[in-house]
């Protein structure tokens, strides 16, 4: 039932000199307007770091831009502005630069059935990356190794099989093996377990922890599930409507949430934290084509709603935009909210 959370492994803050494995600075991704609506600001000013051997969970509800952020991190979506840095080097978007980057950062998607080409057998799916990078020395041995690293043992049993005769958990392991074959140092996983059944879910999460320990991988795991974050993450970033609203270590964010949004997400989790009164969010679901003025969470914010009518902070929530969080959430967590007394991010540079 319990998992060993005692080993923080790479979770300790990286020494000041070493650049993080992956970093985004002031990232914006805006999609052009469609059907008369405004442009969609899917990612709207995000700073985030993923340290070496660190697992970061990016949490948020559907439509908050977390998947777009994940795709931008692996270079599949070109940011409108801002930059992605891999080990301190800014990612370029030429074909050659992107292709080189693919060896370092790999993507794992939500639906493993769909993420595998139904016409490719396991060997071809795993070998594809190496083949197209023209890196085919000892191809068979490396495919074997990737499969067994991903927990498909013995690998020979799986090579000839097609996705449709694998279970969901096995399919996700094949996807992960396809990523591992390229020997990346970062894996970006977009809802990697949400379409799997409970037992496979636990195994795949365990696999991410194992890979971090044995291969020194870093990972950014996107999810809507705070429980998942608790199980595998070193740090948690909570995203709302294109921005990260709270970031810190998993203990800080999940046990002492600061932001009203994080608190409401936690309050509705079943089980152990049920002594909290559930805070149900009301109002329209967030729409990246119409981001509210002021704090972008204020129309749905339970804390803002409880403010007295003449409370001066009410005006702040309604009209003063908050700057993007700049810190890494180290050593203490930070949240982007007018109602948090200290340390309130300075409102300089408000657009």
């Amino acid at each position: 039932m319990t998992i060993d959370r005692a080993a923080p492994a790479g979770a300790s803050p990286t020494g000041g000199a070493a650049p993080p494995a992956l970093e985004v600075r002031d990232l914006h991704v805006t999609f052009p307007s469609r059907r008369g609506r405004g442009p969609a600001r899917a990612v709207d000013g995000v700073n985030l770091t993923v340290g070496a051997r660190e697992i970061v969970a990016l949490i948020g509800e559907s439509g908050c831009g977390k998947s777009t952020l994940a795709r931008a991190l692996v270079g599949l979506v070109k940011p409108t502005s801002g930059e992605v840095l891999y080990r301190g080097t800014t990612l370029g978007y030429s074909n050659a630069a992107l292709k080189a980057y693919r060896r370092h950062t790999q993507l794992v998607l939500q639906d493993p059935g769909g993420a595998l080409n139904p016409r490719q057998n396991v060997f071809d799916a795993v070998a594809e990356g190496l083949r197209l990078h023209k890196d085919t020395d000892r191809l068979g041995a490396r495919v074997h190794r990737a499969l067994s690293q991903a927990g498909l043992r013995p690998p020979e049993q799986f090579l000839e099989r097609y996705p449709h005769n694998l279970s969901g958990g096995q399919q996700q392991r094949v996807v992960i093996a396809g990523a591992l074959a390229l020997e990346p140092s970062v894996i970006v996983a977009d809802e990697p377990v949400s379409s799997l059944d409970a037992s496979a879910r636990g195994e795949i999460l365990r696999l991410f922890l194992d890979l971090r320990d044995t291969l020194d991988l870093s990972a950014l795991v996107v999810s809507h599930d705070l429980g998942l974050a608790w199980n595998i993450a070193d740090r948690v970033a909570v995203m709302y409507l294109g921005r990260i609203v709270e970031v810190g270590t998993v203990e800080e964010v999940l046990l002492e949430p600061k932001h009203p949004y994080t608190r409401s997400l936690l309050s509705v989790l079943p089980g152990t934290l049920s002594h909290r009164r559930p805070i149900l969010l009301t109002g329209e679901p967030p729409d990246p084509t119409a981001i509210p003025a002021g704090c972008r969470f204020h129309p749905r914010c339970p804390a803002a709603a409880e403010l007295a009518p003449h409370d001066p902070r009410r005006e702040l929530c309604h009209s003063r935009a908050l700057p993007p969080l700049t810190g890494t959430g180290r050593p203490t967590s930070v949240a982007s909210c007018h109602l948090i007394p200290s340390p309130v991010p300075s409102p300089s540079g408000v657009g």
């Binding site: 993507l107 639906d111 990356g129 390229l182």
Partner: protein, 358 residues
């Protein structure tokens, strides 16, 4: 910071994960599965063909109230002559006997005797088969290649200028009646129109004044092919464009394309190696159904250009009406559709590993 275990959120992790046991059929079982698959498809084809025979029998032997009257329509015929015809056609025998001899004859390749040509239907069909196969084969190869190519380009960039122009043009041509398009091309390029001289012949398959052998004959047949093939291609390629386009658009959202890109594949390779092979599967079925229809030829196009194929033969049989000939062509056309359907099923099994597993 120590965490009390009771704050564990969400699903607990399995303590000792072991990979799922391998599942799936062994080699022997899948071979038996394949045999069973072929047997089922073959049986279905045989049943379809039998139903076709029943329909053919009803349509051509029972429906005409009195074949003899139809045959002698408008000609002075004595009662004795009509009785002699009835006897020779076996119309006085009981129904089951007539059906049994019809099925038996058909299975032995005896398709009856054409009233109009005074020749066995089987030999008529045989002599008209190759012109049709040539005409329809050439035009199908061109329409399929053109249609798939345009469909892939349109679907990959849905909504682009290329897509809109290509879809507009193909839909327009698709809506144009084939015989009208054929007449138009015939007037413009065969008869000659205004400054356009007569460029291509449009009467039959070859010029009788050129010896039916060697290169001059090949060139002559090729020149005769141009206009009917152009008519068929312009009228038909839109079908392949729309199938390929929509099938590719369905594949476009598949996550495996994103996976392939994330591994480092360039866009053109993602299309060529992943999206198109999967999107081709639905197109294959339609193409094979069309190929089955090839033998039937295009009655209108063959008639407009007097192409000596099965379509033109059917048209001539209809004019009389020459019931045994119609019945013969009906059976041949149905059989070719059934055979091509069977071929599509078998080919699909090779192309799609998912079908192989079922």
């Amino acid at each position: 910071m120590s965490i009390p275990p009771d704050v564990l959120l969400g699903e607990p992790l399995a303590a000792d994960p072991t990979p799922d046991p391998p599942s799936g059929a062994s080699g022997g079982a899948s071979r038996a599965g394949a045999l069973w698959f072929y047997a089922r498809k073959l049986l279905a084809a045989v049943v379809s063909f039998f139903i076709t025979l029943v329909i053919g029998f009803v349509l051509f032997q029972l429906m005409p109230a009195d074949p003899v009257r139809a045959l002698t329509q408008g000609r002075p015929t004595s009662a004795a002559q009509m009785q002699a015809l009835r006897d020779s056609l076996g119309l006085d025998k009981p129904l089951w006997q007539r059906f049994a001899s019809f099925v038996g004859d058909t299975l032995h390749g005896r398709l009856g005797f054409s009233w109009q040509f005074q020749e066995p239907v089987a030999s008529l069909v045989g002599s008209h088969l190759w012109p049709t196969v040539l005409l329809m084969g050439v035009s199908t190869v061109i329409s399929v290649s053109l249609g798939l190519w345009l469909g892939i380009r349109s679907g990959w960039r849905q909504g682009s200028v290329f897509d809109r122009i290509s879809s507009g043009v193909s839909l327009t041509l698709w809506s144009v009646p084939t015989f009208w398009l054929g007449l138009l091309l015939l007037v413009a390029f065969s008869v000659g129109f205004g400054p356009i001289p007569s460029l291509f012949p449009a009467d039959g398959m070859s010029d009788p004044s050129i010896a039916a052998a060697g290169w001059p004959h090949v060139v002559d047949v090729a020149r005769h092919l141009v206009l009917p093939v152009a008519t068929l291609v312009l009228g038909d390629y839109a079908l392949y464009v729309s199938i390929m386009r929509s099938s590719l658009i369905d594949e476009m959202d598949s996550p495996y394309l994103l996976t392939a890109r994330a591994k480092g594949l360039f866009d053109s390779d993602v299309r060529r190696k992943h999206a198109v092979p999967n999107a081709l599967l639905p197109a294959v079925t339609v193409i094979f159904l069309q190929i089955g229809g090839i033998i039937g030829g295009a009655v209108t196009v063959e008639t407009v250009y007097s192409w000596p194929g099965l379509g033109y033969l059917t048209y001539q049989a209809l004019k009389v009406p020459d019931l045994p000939l119609l019945q013969g062509t009906f059976i041949i056309f149905s059989a070719s559709v059934i055979i091509m359907n069977l071929a599509a099923d078998v080919l699909y099994r090779f192309l799609d590993p998912r079908v192989r597993a079922q």
